[in-house]
Amino acid sequence: MRRNERIKIYLSYLLIGLAVLFFVFPIFWLGLTSFKPPRELFSFGLPSQFTLENYLSVFRTYEMTAFLANSLVTSLSVTALAVVIGSLGAYGFARYRFAGSGFLLVLVLVMRMIPSISLMIPLYLMFASLGLLNTRAAVIIAQLAFVLPLAIWILEGFFRSLPKELEEAALVDGCSRLGTFWRIVLPISAPGLAVTAIFAFLFSWNDFALPLVLTSTPASQTLPMALSQMSLLFGIRWDHMSAASMMYIVPTILIAALLSRFVVRGLTAGAVKG
C-alpha cells in the first residue's frame, strides 16, 4: 500500500514533467529563435551567439511603435469600459429584479455563444457605412460585443456570492443604493473586478478576427495584424516573426506569472460550485 502510493507520486512527477515540457517547449523555442543570428534560425541547438539583431530589425522594418500603441490603447480602453459597464450591469442583475431581468440575463449569457464570424460581417458593414473603418474606436466598440457578455458571466456570479447582509446593513444605515454599491460592494469585489479586467485585456490584446476585418492601415492596426502581415506578405520572415511575437506576448507572460490565480478563478467562475 505505502510503496504503491509512493510509486504513484513518482509517476505524477514524471507525468507533470512531461506535460510542462510539452506546453512550454514551443514558447521556449520561439524565445530562443528570437535571439539567434538570422543565419542560424533553423539550426537545432543553442545559437553560436545571442543577439538582439532580430528585435532591432523589426523596429527598423515595421512601424512597431504605432502597432504597439494601437494595441495598448485598444486593450486598455476595452478593459476600462468592460469593468465599468460590466460591473454596473452585473450588479443590477445580481441584486435587483425587474421586468424581464431573468430572461435578459440568459440573453446576455447566450451572447457568449455567438461565433465571431456571425458578427464580423454585419459589424464590418455597419462601421463601413458609419465611416469608422480603420479607427481604433471601431475595434474597441466591436470587441465589447464579446467582452461584455464574458464580464457579466464572471461578475454576476461573483456579486451573487457576496453576503447580502453587508449591503442590507449599509442601506438600513441610510446609505444610498448607489453609495452602497460604490463604497461597500466594489471594494470587497476587487478580486472579481481583477478577474474581469484580466480577461477583457487578454481578449482584446489577443483578438485577431475583428482588427482583421475592421482595420487595414498602420494607424489603426494592432500587433496581431503586424504579425500576420510578416507571415503572409513576403513569405515568412521568421527572424522578424519570432522577435515581434516575443514582444507581443510579454504582457501575457507577465499576467501568467504574476496573476495566474485570478485567471484560474475567472475560468472556473460559474463552472464549479463553491
Binding site: 510542462v20 523555442w29 442583475f93 425587474f98 466598440i141 460585443a145 489577443n206 500576420s228 475560468l267
Partner: protein, 295 residues
C-alpha cells in the same frame, strides 16, 4: 443623495441600461442585420442590386459542397480535439493534485499556452512544423523515426490533424484548470471511507471521482466544444484553409464567402445556420449550470 425616487426595479433597470445600450449597438443590431441580409440577394460587388430572395441563400449554402465539407471539418476538429483534451486534462489534473512540491509553479507553466494570442500560437507551430527545417522534423530525423520529413501542413491528409494537435496544445490547459477546480471540491473523507471498505484506486476513480466530476466535465466539454467549433484564427494563420481545402472549417469558409467572394447574403445565411447550432449547445450549457446550482 437620492434625488430621483426610483423603486428597486427601476434602479436595477438603470444599472443594466449602459450594458444594453452597448449590446444593442454591437450585438443585437448587427445580428438582426445579418438575419435580414440572409434573406436578400446581397453582394458587395453589386451594392445597388439588393433584393429579397426568400430562402435562396440558405438553400444554396446548404447545397454547396464547400459548405458541407467545411462543416464536416469543423465537426472532426471539434469531436477529435475536445475528447483528447478532456482525457489529457483529467490525467494532468489528477497528477497535479498528487504533487507535494512545485504544484503552483507547474500549474502556472501549464496555464501559459491558453493565454497566448492565437496568432502567436499559429506562427510558432508553423515554424516548428516546417517541412525541411522545422524542429519537429529535425528531432524526428535525429531519433530515426523518419527518413525524409513529415509534411505536417503541406499534405492534405495530414494538415487537419496538425491543426488539431495545436488546438490540443493550446486548450488542454483550460481542461486542467476546470477539472482541477472540480477535484479540490471533492471531500477527502469520501476517498478515506472507500479505502476502508477496500476499494482499489481504479474503483475509487470510477465510483467517486468521475461521478462527482460529471457536471464539470459536461460544462467543460460544452464550453470547449463551442470554442473549437468556431475556430478561425488558428486556421487563418496556419493553413488558410488549405492545402486543397483540407482544413477549410466553417468560420473560415464563411469568412471567405463574405470577404473574398463578397457574397454577403449567403455568408449571412451560413453564419445563421452556424449560430443556431451553437445556441442549441449554449442553452444546454446554461441549463446544466442552473441545475447544478439548484441541486
Amino acid at each position: 443623495m437620492r434625488r430621483f425616487n426610483l423603486n428597486n426595479a427601476q434602479f436595477g433597470a438603470l444599472l443594466v441600461s449602459p450594458l444594453f445600450v452597448v449590446l444593442a449597438m454591437v450585438v443585437a443590431y448587427p445580428l438582426l442585420y445579418a438575419v435580414w441580409a440572409s434573406f436578400q440577394f446581397f453582394r458587395l460587388s453589386r451594392p445597388d442590386d439588393i433584393r429579397f430572395n426568400g430562402l435562396d441563400n440558405y438553400l444554396s449554402v446548404l447545397g454547396d459542397e464547400g459548405f458541407r465539407t467545411a462543416l464536416w471539418h469543423s465537426f472532426i476538429y471539434t469531436f477529435v480535439a475536445v475528447p483528447i483534451e478532456l482525457a489529457l486534462g483529467l490525467i494532468i489534473a489528477l497528477a497535479l493534485v498528487k504533487l507535494r512540491v512545485g504544484r503552483d509553479l507547474a500549474r502556472t507553466l501549464i496555464v501559459i499556452p491558453m493565454m497566448l494570442a492565437p496568432v502567436v500560437m499559429g506562427l510558432m507551430w508553423k515554424f516548428m512544423y516546417n517541412d525541411q527545417l522545422g524542429v519537429i522534423n529535425q528531432v524526428a530525423r535525429a531519433l530515426g523515426l523518419v527518413q525524409g520529413s513529415i509534411p505536417w501542413l503541406s499534405s492534405p491528409d495530414l494538415a487537419l490533424w496538425s491543426l488539431i494537435i495545436v488546438e490540443i496544445w493550446a486548450t488542454t490547459p483550460i481542461m486542467v484548470i476546470l477539472l482541477g477546480a472540480g477535484l479540490t471540491v471533492i471531500p477527502d473523507e469520501l476517498y478515506e471511507a472507500a479505502r476502508m471498505d477496500g476499494a482499489n484506486s481504479w474503483q475509487r476513480f470510477v465510483k467517486i471521482t468521475l461521478p462527482l466530476l460529471q457536471p464539470i466535465i459536461l460544462v467543460a466539454l460544452l464550453i470547449r466544444g463551442m470554442d473549437a467549433f468556431r475556430v478561425f484564427d488558428l486556421v487563418y494563420i496556419l493553413t488558410q484553409g488549405g492545402p486543397a481545402n483540407s482544413t477549410d472549417v466553417l468560420s473560415y469558409f464563411l469568412y471567405r464567402l463574405n470577404f473574398v467572394n463578397l457574397n454577403v447574403g449567403q455568408a449571412s445565411a451560413g453564419s445563421m445556420i452556424m449560430l443556431a447550432m451553437l445556441i442549441v449547445a449554449g442553452l444546454l450549457l446554461i441549463r446544466l449550470l442552473r441545475r447544478e446550482e439548484t441541486a
